[in-house]
């Protein structure tokens, strides 16, 4: 219990309905505990409630039913609002719509400035945060001259400067090209490993989810699967039934299995998959 950073209990939420309609539940009794220092991926097709879930993690939305605690603090307590938001930072999809200032250092300083941190310390935090995302040479650049991946790293730096315990990324790689996506993923993995920051990665990409320690699958406002990537990503039939794909590697291994090869189905990365196939072929050769 001590090391749960975010705890949700029977969380329910629905957006205010348009006139004449009955409000549709966006979250339908989600119970979830996220451990400090873990790397959790959240999967789900469009409209399954991923963003709604994310917004409950830092009190942007407040539960209509159930409870959410961040580091033991009830998110409904208005006095704790800033502290909750400081501990759980959020990176969004569109890099352009979350950058506030037109100089990189000013943007990274925005969070600490709001928290009333003394000037000298803001300076240190900004430099440290930019270093942590590998963008220190861009301190004085204008953000609109940067690439998408670089902008997202600046957004991450802006959150790190608040010294959070957890970073939630809501499809933050969706608008990026493959190299930008790799930049962002490498950055968050490093922050997770080296600084022990908890990462919640919301994504559509199976290969991104495969990087996590744990995967939560959402469908219709419920958490329908929860477990290690090797366990979740190999449940092909179930994933297909809720409109998700399995990684190409898993699909290939399933196919080989059906054709009578003795391969494991839980080799997720391309390298592991190749090794598994080679191992299966070796006795025949």
């Amino acid at each position: 219990m001590a090391d749960t950073i975010i705890k949700m209990e029977d969380l329910a939420f629905s957006y205010p309905a348009e006139e004449g309609n009955v409000p549709l539940a966006a979250l339908n009794g989600v119970s979830l505990s996220i451990e400090r220092g873990s790397f959790v991926a959240v999967l789900g097709h469009n409209g399954s409630g991923k963003s709604t879930l994310a917004k409950h993690m830092n009190a942007v939305l407040l539960p209509l039913g159930g409870k959410v605690w961040v580091d033991g603090m009830d998110t409904c307590d208005e006095n704790l609002l800033l502290e909750v938001r400081r501990r759980v930072g959020m990176v969004f999809q569109n890099p352009d719509n979350q950058i506030v200032a037109n100089v990189v250092e000013e943007d990274v300083a925005f969070g600490p400035e709001n928290l009333g941190i003394p000037t000298e310390e803001i300076r240190q935090r900004v430099d440290a945060a930019l270093q942590a995302v590998g963008m220190e040479e861009f301190v004085l650049q204008a953000p609109h001259h940067l690439s998408g991946g670089q902008k997202q790293r600046i957004a991450i730096a802006g959150i790190i400067a608040m010294e959070p315990a957890c970073i939630v990324l809501d499809e933050s790689t969706a608008m990026l090209d493959p190299s930008g996506r790799r930049e962002v993923l490498d950055t968050v993995r490093r922050l997770n490993r080296e600084k022990g920051i908890t990462i919640v990665l919301i994504t559509h990409h199976m290969d991104e989810a495969a990087l996590a320690d744990r995967i939560v699958v959402m469908d219709g406002g419920r958490a329908v699967m929860d477990g290690a990537p090797k366990e979740i990503l190999t449940r092909m039939a179930e994933l297909r039934a809720i409109g998700l794909d399995v990684p190409h590697t898993v699909e290939l291994l399933y196919g080989l299995r059906e054709d009578g090869f003795d391969v494991p189905v839980d080799a997720l990365s391309v390298e592991d998959c190749a090794d598994a196939i080679v191992a299966a072929l070796a006795p025949r050769a």
């Binding site: 830092n58 942007v60 800033l82 938001r85 400081r86 930072g89 959020m90 969004f92 569109n94 352009d96 719509n97 979350q98 950058i99 506030v100 200032a101 037109n102 100089v103 250092e105 000013e106 300083a109 925005f110 969070g111 600490p112 400035e113 709001n114 928290l115 009333g116 941190i117 003394p118 000037t119 803001i122 300076r123 900004v126 204008a142 953000p143 609109h144 802006g158 959150i159 608040m162």
Partner: protein, 267 residues
Amino acid sequence: MLKDITLGQFFPGTSLAHRLDPRTKILLTVVYIVALFCAESFVSYGLMVALLITGVKVSGVAPKALVKGLKPVLFIICFTAILNLFYTPGEILVQFWVLKITKEGIFTAFFMALRISMLIMGTFLLTYTTSPISLTDGLEALLGPLKKVKVPVHELSMMMSIALRFIPTLIEETDKIMSAQKARGADFESGSLLDRAKALVPILVPLFISAFRRADELAVAMECRCYHGGQGRTKLHVLRYQPRDYVVMGAYAAVLAAVLVLARFGL
């Protein structure tokens, strides 16, 4: 092509004019404008021209860039000058039909044109040497006392800096939408004024919709980063007057005093 437009142009640099505190520069620009309107004679105008030239020299801004800034208002300058030329009563020099040119008219027209040009060049000197951020910071600090009478100074300066932040983004977006509409056969360059205005509608509508969506997302992102108004907010860059600020302010005060004294003696 739209990307070439830069509002409130700024030329980065390290000259004395660049390093001055933005508050100093804003104050000096105000003093300069007041002095311009007090100046009435060759001597005092000479003093002001000298001041402007010194400013330009110190800033290292190319005089060409300043003159270029005059282009959009050239019409207004000429118009005012011509009005003054013909409609100032006094000692008549030339007369044809109802138009008469007076000696006083020539002087007023000349001084008017000079005054407007110098006013514009002076303000451009401010924006050329001060980054938009320090400009907003300076304004916020200078207007700070107005907070006491409930003027939302912090909010206004936040709006201004967000507007500055989004100008390039929105320009880029306009460019994209225009290309998309052109690809569908839209024509923005020919036809009557009305036709061209109509052609703008398919650009403005998507632009507005997207601007609202951006505003919505930005507001949430700002909340997530603990923004809660100006209360208890600290700053990465705190403005501090340096000795150079006092020296330059002193020099300006002396020039203003000289212009006022000269005006008093009708010079």
